[in-house]
Symmetry: C2
Subunit: 271 residues, 2 copies
Amino acid sequence: MEAWVDGQPASAIGVVNRGLAYGDGLFETIRVRATRLSLLERHLERLAHGCARLGLPFDEPVLRAEVRGYASELGDGVLKLIVTRGDSARGYAGDPAAPARRILQGSPLPEYPAQRQTEGIALFPCRTRLAEQPLLAGLKHLNRLEQVLARAEWQGAEFAEGLMCDSSGRLIEGVFSNLFMVCDGRLVTPGLTRCGVAGTLRAELIAQAATEGEPVVIEDLEPSRLASASEVFMCNSVYGIWPVRRYAQLTWPVGPRTRKLQQMACELLDI
Amino acid sequence: MEAWVDGQPASAIGVVNRGLAYGDGLFETIRVRATRLSLLERHLERLAHGCARLGLPFDEPVLRAEVRGYASELGDGVLKLIVTRGDSARGYAGDPAAPARRILQGSPLPEYPAQRQTEGIALFPCRTRLAEQPLLAGLKHLNRLEQVLARAEWQGAEFAEGLMCDSSGRLIEGVFSNLFMVCDGRLVTPGLTRCGVAGTLRAELIAQAATEGEPVVIEDLEPSRLASASEVFMCNSVYGIWPVRRYAQLTWPVGPRTRKLQQMACELLDI
């Protein structure tokens, strides 16, 4: 399906767009099934938060109307929404009067092998570290060279995802997913105050666990914690939950907690 | 002057370009006076180095011919060259078969107030820190949100540049220039192995000092070193050298070393 730029069908943007020049913007990738946008409120919430941090305008009614309109034409697929600071002359100073630009793109739902859900995956140990930048941590911004470098570290189908640590060696996330584990019966996920992308499915899992009186433990996690985990899984809002079976010398079974959350994720995402 | 995309006049790029999606590319801004490209070899050298690090193809003859052709039409101005990994479907994995894209843009030479050269400038103390990422340090890549945030910290004409430190508090660079100082009679500049952009004029100053038998000292610099500097200046390949007169509570005169290097920079850049 053709892209929309600022609400109009278009397949190109001006070369003066600050999204190209500086990665000066944010994006969301939203799963669409039968025109329904999964986790839409979580995506809008993260985008609003990102816009506030970057000093970008956030016009919620317009964004909401546009993604709904685009999804109704897309039907099934992944809707990618990019918001940039718009155009400007050369130089890092943005033009406060320049309107932000909205870009919508649609692509087919990815056809991941079904056994990633059923049997689980192996994680590649990425050497690329995530730099620690609290001002940008958690945001899904357009500065993604670290993910590009990490994803280029492996080819082939043996590894479905890669695991990334920060500069200090703490566990943070996958290249395109978040990390959870079960330790001593409790659900644990890395804190993302220094780097990482705060995924929308991650946010949903955290919120639901809290309402069930079993809050997720969010903390700094050393790689050694993996050895004591009874279950490990990755999640994102496009594929749901993939159990992790193997990382380096470590192996895990697909545990009951993972299966239960996986079921919930499938319902949330119409998988 | 209209931009060129892959050698053809064009003002837009596809929304699927990875430069927009991930900042997956590099750029150079080259000063052009009377069609002459200043420091062209240094710019191509840095770009080649960046392409090697990011795994991007670097077609030197094509790039050289295109920037020369564009400069001959631009006459006077700033030529901005962007190289991106080209287009790809959604996902961080690049398509190795996709050709890189070249984007050339021209803008007028900036009209900075002349007293920045003659009388010097005040530096704004930026709160935004540069994250430490050795894999990207030195490159002029398209992930520039830190510079955007730093540049948004001040408005108005009191400060011509801002000074940025890394996460550990070391002095690194300006928002759009490099930092030099004179300490105990020696020229000193911060090492850029963890973060920062290795400027082409910086490289030229370092090379020329080495040939004169007075090599620049490149090292980690704590902010306290500024207090013992006898001269401080900022440099880039568009404006040349601006003496720094004031930073926080510190002040400096415009010293003889700065004046001498400023003269050399003016010749290099046809200022």
